[in-house]
């Protein structure tokens, strides 16, 4: 039987090692991006376009669909309460603020984590199992430099685009519900534009890009640290999704605190 001390000790030592490993990975990624700024020809544009196509274009329908449903649901649920005060029209304000500032980027990011985060992890994990990462290393090429920037860039750029679609679809859903309740479309639009400034929209998109950064980084990391066994790829993909969503929640929380402190 192992003593509780050695159990706790080994857990702590393992956690410290993981932390160091994550820091090394982030550092190497930063260097990789810095290197690309100085030598743009090093950027693997082919990989980028493929990842971007898969993340952004192939994800448009599902993200918009979820945005639409979200708008519908939010509108129905809030209308039920607001109707008691004869204030159905304020559903549009609620929708606009909720979608642009919070729910649009968040829901889009969760979908992207499920689609692209796991895909990055599976792709890179398979490369690891097939010794392709080892082959890169023995050629003197850093797998991080080679694989991470195109994928992360794709996720960062895909997020704002997808977010816009999710938000517009959500608004469309809300507008549909409100028109059923007798609120004219012009009034809906007026309330939406009045309640959201440019700041809220840009803030939502920047937040989305940050989420994209986290999803890309976490997905690639999970793939690179996959074990070389048969089930490793599945494990890596799962961990990419779970850690991706956790990191999204963390970033969102941090930004919320920051906004509160700055009073925006």
């Amino acid at each position: 039987m192992i003593s509780p001390f050695s159990f706790v000790g080994s857990k702590v030592a393992g956690a410290c090692r993981s932390c160091a490993d994550v820091c090394a990975y982030i550092g190497e990624s930063v260097c990789a991006f810095g290197g690309i700024l100085f030598h743009p020809s090093r950027f693997r544009a082919g990989d980028f376009f493929l990842a971007f196509q898969r993340a952004a274009f192939d994800g448009l329908v599902i993200t918009s669909g979820i945005g639409l449903l979200l708008g519908l649901i939010l509108a129905f649920e809030s209308a039920a309460a607001l109707r008691m005060f004869g204030a159905e029209v304020y559903v549009s304000d609620l929708l606009a603020i909720g979608l642009f500032r919070e729910l649009g980027p968040l829901v889009t990011a969760i979908v992207l984590a499920g689609r692209s985060g796991s895909a990055f992890a599976a792709e890179i994990g398979t490369m690891k199992v097939d010794e392709e990462l080892d082959a890169l290393t023995t050629m003197g090429l850093s797998p991080v430099r080679f694989l991470v920037p195109p994928r992360v860039a794709a996720a960062v750029l895909a997020m704002p685009i997808l977010t816009v679609f999710a938000e517009l679809a959500g608004l469309a859903g809300g507008a549909g519900v409100l028109s059923l309740m007798g609120v004219p479309f012009e009034v809906f639009v007026e309330h939406v534009t009045d309640s959201t400034g440019l700041f809220a929209v840009v803030f939502g998109l920047v937040k989305g890009a940050l989420f994209g950064l986290a999803i890309g980084m976490v997905g690639c990391y999970a793939g690179m640290r996959a074990k070389s066994t048969a089930d490793a790829v599945g494990v890596a993909a799962t961990s990419a999704v779970v850690s991706g969503i956790v990191s999204i929640a963390l970033i969102d929380g941090l930004l919320a605190v920051l906004c509160y402190i700055c009073g925006v």
């Binding site: 490369m127 392709e132 080892d134 082959a135 290393t137 023995t138 003197g140 090429l141």
Partner: protein, 247 residues
């Protein structure tokens, strides 16, 4: 004349963290030599090779390649001196065969794209695969993949070439052509080869020396010229190995 040592293993324990596979192995590989790693399946040949190419650190002992130990500072320099073909081929699945061979050339030489492409085609021609240049690795056979991987390993004219089971999955004709290619490269460029193979014909044709490992004894059990090992070794396992299973 003193032979130049390219790879030196001194009392090396080979394996993975927490799992020693082979204990206390020592041998040298000299410049221009074709050195074969032998042994039953799972005895640790690929493991020893992974130590030599700097993927895994040795568990204990001393390993030097071209006079240098693998560490952070020497890695870039050593990587330029070696070419590796992995047991699985390890071609990049998202690139065509030609792009696979071109990758190291483009990354490490300043040649124009055209020149890189021509060099890569020449390498593919050497392994008789110019037809497969534009195919993806998933569209060619296992043996063809290995040959593309060999072409890629040779791309930068490395000083030491590591081949993990290059002829497994090849027909006898292609396999013999591969042996000729290895001999030719050694004669022309003075390359050193470390090869894992089980093909006895090939071993007798090209090998200068071999090292044999045994899984159950977790040790290197023989080192020397293949003819000597076959005829003079007292070890039962070595005898069985060279006589295809019979004593």
């Amino acid at each position: 004349m003193e032979k130049q040592t390219m790879i030196q293993l001194q009392n090396v324990d080979a394996g993975y963290p927490g799992a020693v596979i082979l204990e206390n192995i020592s041998f040298n590989v000299f410049k221009g030599e074709i050195f074969i790693l032998l042994g039953g399946s799972g005895c640790g040949k690929s493991t020893v090779m992974k130590h030599m190419i700097g993927l895994n650190p040795v568990l204990s002992g001393n390993l030097r390649v071209a006079g240098l130990e693998w560490d952070f500072d020497t890695r870039t320099e050593l990587c330029r001196k070696i070419g590796v073909m992995f047991q699985s081929g390890a071609l990049f699945g998202s690139m065509t065969c030609l792009e696979n061979v071109m990758l190291p050339i483009r990354e490490f030489t300043s040649s124009k794209k055209r020149a890189c492409c021509e060099r890569a085609m020449q390498l593919l021609r050497d392994v008789e695969l110019e037809d497969a240049a534009d195919k993806m690795p998933s569209e060619i056979s296992g043996g063809m993949r290995k040959r593309v991987a060999i072409a890629r390993a040779m791309a930068l004219d490395p000083e030491i070439v590591f081949l993990d089971e290059p002829s497994a999955g090849l027909d006898p004709i292609t396999s013999a052509a591969l042996d000729d290619l290895i001999l030719k490269l050694r004669a022309e460029k003075g390359m050193t080869f470390v090869i894992v193979t089980h093909e006895l014909d090939s071993i007798f044709k090209i090998a200068d020396r071999c090292a044999m490992f045994d899984k159950s004894r977790r040790a290197m059990i023989a080192l020397g010229r293949p003819q000597e090992l076959k005829h003079k070794s007292e070890d039962a396992f070595v005898k069985r190995f060279f006589n295809r299973g019979s004593e």
